[in-house]
């Protein structure tokens, strides 16, 4: 491996979070983002070809080394690491609505779900999956919520556009354009 790829491997190993290519380029004043992308590709192939227990993935707005899924069970059983708790169906519903309609207020979320989402919103805020991104117009200037980078990371998305487009869903809705 070339020295940039080695440096990137070290940096990605040291980070618990995904790092964008632009930020990785900051590791060495003499390299461009293009150089970084080429080295990342080399690194990715190295992990894939050499038969490694980890792999390099692009997601959550950056690049990250993760363990391969086939080892998860053994690692968890031996208690070296544990998986985060699964989100409830209600929490996923709320997340889905916020992801597609952001910025969106609590009342609107409740409208779509047919159930109040106060407690769920609070726990999503605490988990860092959504955040207050603005305040709405209108009565009381309600808080508006949006998804966070951690949301992308926990759902292995590179960016929000990776979610299926509304017109790609089996149920094509929204005949009238919704002003956001």
């Amino acid at each position: 491996m070339n020295s940039l790829a080695k440096l990137l491997e070290a940096a990605l190993f040291a980070s618990p979070r995904p790092i964008p290519a632009e930020e990785l380029a900051g590791l060495d004043p003499d390299v461009s983002v293009k150089d970084v992308r080429a080295a990342l590709e080399e690194l990715r192939l190295m992990f894939d070809d050499g038969g490694h227990g980890v792999e390099l993935v692009e997601q959550g707005g950056g690049w990250q080394i993760l363990t391969r899924p086939e080892y998860t069970e053994a690692i968890e059983r031996a208690r070296f690491a544990s998986r985060p708790q699964r989100l409830s169906g209600a929490a996923l519903e709320t997340l889905a609505i916020i992801a597609y309609r952001q910025p969106i207020g609590r009342a609107e979320v409740a409208d779509i779900r047919g159930v109040d989402a106060g407690a769920i919103l609070k726990s999503l805020l605490e988990r860092g999956l959504v955040e207050v991104v603005a305040r709405g117009e209108g009565l009381g200037r309600p808080l508006l919520y949006g998804t966070t980078p951690l949301f992308l990371e926990q759902f292995a998305l590179r960016h929000l556009e990776e979610l299926p487009r509304v017109d790609e869903l089996a149920i094509a809705l929204r005949r009238e354009p919704q002003p956001l």
Partner: protein, 248 residues
């Protein structure tokens, strides 16, 4: 098939309400599952039948106390009644009373589809571990700060929730206690014929006490229980049990 059978732990808890709510994510979810089970065309919902089924399921699942489900049941009944109203042929203005419900169901169904996608993606990610070891870092140079108002607001919320008492709300206007002041004044006047302002309001009284006493005096004067007099401007007010009659 029993309607409850797909609710795995129903009855396992005292309040099965909790379990059911965890099972169905709300009235739309319940309605959608009913439409699916009964193989109903969502664009042409037989409201009378669906309404009846919905009520049956609500009863079976013991959802009768859940406001959201009750509201949906009421809505269905309303639509049903609306459909029974006679309408003239070629009534252009007629709008299918089911339209709004269909729109909401479709919207909800669409969102369920996204939930399915998220579930799959989330499960995939959950099955991979990221690095968790963090080495001891040497003392960092002062890094730039990344602050957002959102973070601050969430912190405010945490403080509010953690505070033992609502400390951020303690600036409450003290209510006046006119009744208390009336009692005090009556007590003073029961002991003596005349009293002064200083006898009914303590030294260093807070504004609310002064105001309460003043209102109490005016009220008692109005009720003819006492009379008030002030010999000259800024002089001490004289309170007397003797009524001054009409002249007061």
């Amino acid at each position: 098939m029993d309607d409850v059978s797909d609710a795995p732990v129903a009855g396992a808890y005292e309040g099965s309400f909790v379990v059911e709510l965890a099972h169905f994510n709300g009235p739309l979810d319940l309605l959608l599952s009913l439409i699916r089970d009964e193989k109903i065309d969502i664009y042409d919902i037989p409201i009378a039948r669906v309404c009846e089924q919905f009520l049956v399921r609500m009863r079976d699942l013991e959802l009768n106390d859940a406001a959201e489900y009750l509201e949906m049941a009421a809505r269905l009944l309303r639509i049903k009644a609306h459909l029974l109203l006679p309408r003239r042929e070629s009534d252009d203005a007629w709008e299918d009373p089911r339209a709004e419900l269909v729109r909401r169901l479709l919207e909800y169904q669409q969102m369920r589809e996204v939930v399915y996608v998220l579930e799959r993606l989330g499960e995939d990610r959950r099955n991979r571990f990221a690095r968790t070891y963090s080495p001891e870092l040497t003392a960092p140079p002062q890094a730039p700060l990344a602050l957002s108002l959102a973070e601050l607001l969430v912190a405010v919320d945490r403080v509010l929730r953690a505070a033992k008492k609502p400390a951020l709300h303690e600036v409450v206007r003290r209510a006046l206690d006119v009744d208390g002041a009336i009692t005090t004044i009556r007590a003073v006047l029961a002991l003596r014929q005349r009293a002064r302002w200083r006898d009914v309001v303590r030294v260093n009284a807070e504004p609310w006490e002064v105001l309460s006493a003043l209102l109490a005096l005016l009220e008692l004067a109005r009720r003819n229980e006492l009379s008030l007099a002030q010999p000259k401007p800024f002089a001490d007010v004289e309170i007397s049990r003797e009524l001054a009659g009409e002249a007061a």
